[in-house]
């Protein structure tokens, strides 16, 4: 039944065959989500097909309103690669040279020029650059996507970097203004419902991929080039969190960041311009604390932060 609805409403390339109201877009996403859930319940081997359905649920939300050009037919690969590039821009302030080169297009302004002259249509540039950007990211990350260490207040900027023309709102739920051609935002309720749904799909995929039994799963649309690893999971969590922050997601991301080896240290500047050193556990603490700002009584956040402080030898604070 779900497949029948999908076939009638959505083309194979993700374009809509029938109009779907922007305030009901999350319900179409839910049909994909339900399909994916059922596939894994019917057969554990259905994980690849299930992830494919999850990807499609997300792709619906990240594309502009119809009609759109082929180079705006964004896929999950484009979103993941775009998020990675956006993350590098946010935490380093600049994109590494080799990745910058992979984003270059003949007779087009360079990325440096576009960054200086916003808005930068990052997803479109990523898509137009094809597999080159993914390959350069994998090269930069030594075989896997680079592990981005972003602070909670940096993560919130991801949507506005990815979707600058809709001010960070999922483009699919915006309406193209017939006079200006610009995207008009939806109601706050529509924005929240779509973000919540997209976020839930991202978290569900992340949870599935955390299961060791699918560590070797071939990710649909990404071929065998992208391995399931912590860096990919972190990207999915960042995206989920940037769309719909919740204390549970801060908690789960904190746990994931704790798993990053202590040896991985980066130096960044905070909002006040001060230089700070970050590693996995330091970052995890920032996420636990951000989660506690939403829900100061969250028992898992409190106990996890306590455990982390204890591991860092700060027993007094851990007890508190």
């Amino acid at each position: 039944m779900c497949e029948s609805v999908i076939v009638q409403v959505v083309q194979d390339d993700g374009r809509l065959k029938l109009p779907v109201r922007v305030d009901e877009m999350h319900r179409l996403q839910r049909v994909f989500f339900t399909t994916a859930t059922l596939r894994t319940l019917i057969s554990p081997q259905g994980i690849s097909s299930a992830i494919h359905d999850h990807w499609r649920a997300i792709e619906i939300a990240i594309r502009p309103p119809l009609p759109y050009a082929d180079d705006q037919c964004y896929s999950m690969q484009d979103l993941l690669v775009g998020t990675c590039v956006a993350g590098l821009m946010i935490y380093d302030g600049q994109i590494p040279k080799e990745i910058m080169q992979s984003l270059s297009l003949e007779s087009q302004p360079t990325i440096q020029e576009l960054v200086r002259r916003p808005p930068l249509d990052l997803l479109r540039r990523v898509r137009a650059s094809g597999d080159r950007v993914l390959n350069s990211l994998l090269n930069y990350g030594e075989g896997v996507l680079p592990t981005l260490l972003l602070l909670p207040d940096q993560v919130v900027h991801l949507p506005s970097v990815l979707f600058p023309f809709s001010l960070g709102i999922s483009p699919a739920v915006c309406t193209r203004n017939e006079h200006t051609g610009l995207l008009d935002p939806p109601s706050e309720r529509t924005r929240q419902k779509t973000n919540l749904m997209t976020s839930m799909v991202l978290l569900t995929v992340a949870k599935k991929l955390q299961d060791e039994s699918v560590a070797t799963v071939c990710l649909p649309g990404l071929g065998d080039r992208v391995n399931v690893g912590v860096s990919l999971l972190i990207l999915l969590y960042y995206l989920a969190l940037s769309l719909s922050p919740s204390s549970s997601t801060y908690n789960n991301l904190g746990i994931l960041l704790c798993a990053i080896p202590n040896s991985r240290i980066i130096s960044i500047r905070n909002a006040q311009g001060q230089k700070i050193l970050l590693n996995g556990p330091t970052l995890a603490r920032a996420y636990y604390q951000a989660g506690l700002r939403i829900d100061p009584d969250h028992p898992h956040l409190l106990t996890n932060l306590g455990s982390l402080l204890k591991d860092q030898g700060r027993v007094e604070e851990a007890i508190e």
Binding site: M1, V5, L28, R30, S248, N252, L256, C258, D311
Partner: protein, 192 residues
């Protein structure tokens, strides 16, 4: 008085603070404000009057059928939905509502058929998609769709969970922004 209290309590209306609008301890008036009581003593007579004036006006019949369902008068609600379908055989709202009422009577196969009929005509009728998914699946699988648990990998000795819920089956009202619902076809009351 119940209607007066209902109007007084309507959200959004500025009510002066520090006043007591009810005699303390008057439980009979409070019970008169219950949804069922409001439906039975005010909405039902009101809709019946409208129906007498506009016997073939589908929005009135649709809302009346929903009100009857809410009051537990399933058989009359079903008959009314069939009547709507004789007026407009393509009324997907009546089909979906038939499904919901038949489901309430335990007639799940028939319910499924009506939801399917609605979806054949309007594949983007999400209420029917949700209802049908839940009625066709064993309860243990259905519960997976209602309540998703996303837990994270553990780093030390603690278990962490993330819970997301979707809307449970319930009756709800929807209407378009049209100034005159009686002249508007898209005014509808549907089951979610």
């Amino acid at each position: 008085m119940a209607y007066a209290y209902h109007l007084y309590d309507t959200p959004g209306s500025p009510r002066p603070a520090g006043l007591t609008p009810l005699l303390v301890g008057t439980t009979d008036v409070l019970s008169a404000l219950s949804t069922k009581s409001l439906y039975r003593h005010q909405l039902l007579p009101f809709l019946s009057t409208l129906r007498a004036l506009h016997p073939r006006h589908i929005p009135v019949l649709l809302l009346l059928a929903c009100t009857l369902h809410a009051l537990g008068d399933y058989q009359t609600a079903i008959n009314l939905n069939y009547e709507i379908l004789t007026i407009d055989p393509g009324c997907v709202e009546a089909m979906s509502n038939l499904g919901t009422t038949l489901k309430a009577l335990g007639q799940e196969d028939q319910a499924y058929e009506w939801w399917l009929n609605a979806l054949r005509i309007r594949p983007t009728y999400w209420d029917a998609v949700v209802s049908q998914t839940h009625v066709r699946l064993p309860s243990d699988i259905s519960s997976h769709l209602i309540r998703r648990t996303t837990s994270s990998a553990s780093s030390s000795t603690l278990r962490r969970t993330h819970l997301t819920t979707i809307t449970a089956l319930k009756l709800t009202h929807r209407r378009c922004a049209c100034a005159n619902p009686l002249s508007c076809k898209s005014y509808r009351t549907t089951a979610v």
